[in-house]
Subunit: 302 residues, 2 copies
C-alpha cells in the first residue's frame, strides 16, 4: 500500500481552517491567531489559539505533522530503526459561560515506516470527540450523542457502541471515580489491512472531523446567553480542575507530546484558563451542582 499521508494532511489542514472560521463567526468578538512551529527532530505544526472571546475564553485548534526516529517508548512493533509520522488535528475549547460545555476533539493518523522512510511497516487511525459540561443537561447530552452516533452509523453501525464504551473507559478519572464529562466516542489503532479499509477509516476520520462544527455551534448557541452567578463560576472552576487532573495524570496524547519533545504550549493549550481546587468539596444535596454528578458516570444516552 502506498501512503496516503499527503491526502490525509490536506484534509486536516482544510478541517482546521473550517473550524477556526466557523467558531470565530459564532463567537463574533475574538478570532484565532496562528502560531506556526517547527520540531527540531522533524516536522511541525500550526497552533491556532482563541483568547478572551465573547463565548470562548481560551481554546486551541492545532494541526501538526511530526516525524522522525521512532521514540523508545513506542515498542509495539519492536522495529526501532524506522521512521514515524504522526499527523492530526486536536481541539480543546474552554468557554466563558459555565453553561457552555468544554469540548475536545482529536483525529489523527500514525504511520511507521522503515528506515528509508518509504515502506509502511504499520499504520493506524485514532481519534474521538467528547464533551465536558460543568452543568450537563439531558437535552444537550442526547443531542450530542445522537449526532455522533449518526456520524458513526453512516460508516459502520458497530462503531458507536464500541467507541462510546472505549470513551467511557478512557475519560474516566480513576482516582475520582468519575468521568471527565459526558463521554462521546474514542477509538485508536484502527489498522487498515487493505486499501478499501483504509478508505473506510479515512472516511470515518472525516465524519468525526466534520461533525465538530455543527455539534459545537449548536451547544454554544443553546447555552451562551444563560445567566450565571458566582456559585456557577465556582463549580465551573472545580470541574476545570478535574479536567486538568485528567489531562496531566492520564491523557495519552499529552504524555505522547511531552515524551516526543512536542511543542509544550500546543500540548498544554488544553489546560483551562482558571481552575480551582477546594479541599474535600461536595455539592450539597438537591443543588444543581449535585444533580450534575449523575452525568459523570457512564450511561447509555441514545
Amino acid at each position: 500500500m502506498n501512503s496516503n499521508l499527503k491526502e490525509i494532511e490536506q484534509y486536516l489542514i482544510g478541517l482546521q481552517n473550517d473550524i477556526c472560521d466557523g467558531l470565530s463567526s459564532v463567537d463574533g468578538k475574538s478570532t484565532f491567531k496562528s502560531d506556526k512551529w517547527e520540531r527540531s527532530e522533524g516536522g511541525g505544526g500550526d497552533t491556532r489559539v482563541i483568547k478572551d472571546g465573547a463565548i470562548y475564553e481560551k481554546g486551541g485548534v492545532n494541526f501538526s505533522h511530526v516525524f522522525g526516529a521512532i521514540p523508545d517508548f513506542i515498542n509495539e512493533t519492536k522495529k526501532s530503526d524506522g521512521i514515524f509520522h504522526a499527523t492530526g488535528v486536536s481541539i480543546v475549547i474552554h468557554p466563558q459561560n459555565p453553561f457552555v460545555p468544554i469540548i475536545h476533539m482529536n483525529v489523527r493518523y500514525f504511520e511507521l515506516r522503515d528506515k528509508t522512510d518509504n515502506e509502511i511497516i504499520d499504520a493506524w487511525f485514532g481519534g474521538g470527540i467528547d464533551v465536558s459540561p460543568a452543568y450537563p443537561n439531558e437535552s444537550d447530552t442526547k443531542f450530542f450523542h445522537q449526532f455522533i452516533k449518526q456520524a458513526c452509523d453512516e460508516i459502520d453501525e458497530s462503531y458507536y457502541p464500541l467507541f462510546k464504551k472505549t470513551c467511557d473507559e478512557y475519560f474516566y478519572i480513576q482516582h475520582r471515580k468519575e468521568m471527565r464529562g459526558i463521554s462521546g466516542i474514542f477509538y485508536d489503532h484502527l489498522r487498515p489491512k487493505s486499501v478499501e479499509e483504509r478508505n473506510k477509516f479515512f472516511h470515518f476520520m472525516q465524519k468525526v472531523g466534520n461533525s465538530f462544527l455543527p455539534i459545537y455551534k449548536e451547544l454554544s448557541i443553546r447555552n451562551k446567553d444563560k445567566a450565571y452567578n458566582e456559585e456557577n463560576k465556582k463549580w465551573q472552576f472545580i470541574r476545570r480542575g478535574r479536567y486538568a487532573e485528567f489531562n496531566l495524570v492520564y491523557d495519552r496524547g499529552t504524555h505522547f507530546g511531552l515524551k516526543t519533545n512536542g511543542r509544550i504550549e500546543s500540548i498544554l493549550m488544553s489546560l483551562p484558563p482558571m481552575a480551582e481546587w477546594v479541599y474535600d468539596y461536595h455539592p450539597e444535596k438537591g443543588t444543581p451542582e449535585e444533580k450534575t454528578l449523575a452525568y459523570f458516570q457512564p450511561k447509555e444516552w441514545v
Copy 2:
C-alpha cells in the same frame, strides 16, 4: 534490628501538632480542622486542613500510617508476599499573598516486612523540604538554604550538597525546563545498615521536621504584609499552575498515593486553590516577573 516504627510514629504525631499550632498562631484568623480517615486495606491518617486564613489560603498538614500487602508496582525488593508500612508527615501550604512562598515538606519512613509482619526485610527514610515563591528574592532564598544547610550539617556535612542536588533534579519540570521553585533538599532510600545508622537517619528526620516551623514562620512574617496588585495575583496563579503540573505529572508521592488507594483528598490537598493557564505566557523583559525566572534554574545559594 527490631522495628522502631512506633517511636517514629510518636515523633511524627507530635510534629504535626506543633506545626498546626505554630501556623495557626502566626495566621491569627483561621485554624486547622482535623479529618481522620481509615484505609480499607490497612492503616489511615489524620489530615489537618487550614482554609481562608489571613495568611494561609489553603493548606494541609497530613499524618498517615498505611500498611498492607506490598503493592505490585514496588518491585525493588522482589519480595511480593510481605507487608509494607509507610508513615510520614506531608505538608503543602498555599498562601494568599503572592509574596509569601508556597512551602512543601515531607518526612517519611518505609518498612517492608515478611508476611508474618514481624521481621524487617528492608527499610528506608525519605523526605525533604522545598520552597516555591511566585516572587523569589535573594534574601529569603539565602535564609532558607542557610537554615536547612545548618540542619543537615549538624548530622552530616555531606548531606546538604548531596540532597540539594537531588532536590534540584527532582523538582525540575522537565517539559518547562524550569524548577517548581527555589529548591531545598530531597532525599530518599536512606537504608540503615545498623542501629547506629538508624538513629542517625531518624535524628536527621527530626532535624528536617523541626526546621519547618522556624523557616516558614520567618518567610511568612517577612512577606505577609507586602502590598500586591492584579498583576502579582496573575503571576501567582500562573506559578500555581506550574505547581499543579509538577504534582500531577511527576510527583512520586502523588502517584504512590493514587496507586495505593490512598485518600484522594489528602493526596490532592497539595493542589492550589486557584490556578491559571495562559497560552504561551512570557513575562516582558525587565518586569519583576521576568526577573523571577533566573531563580527557577538550579544554583548554589550558600
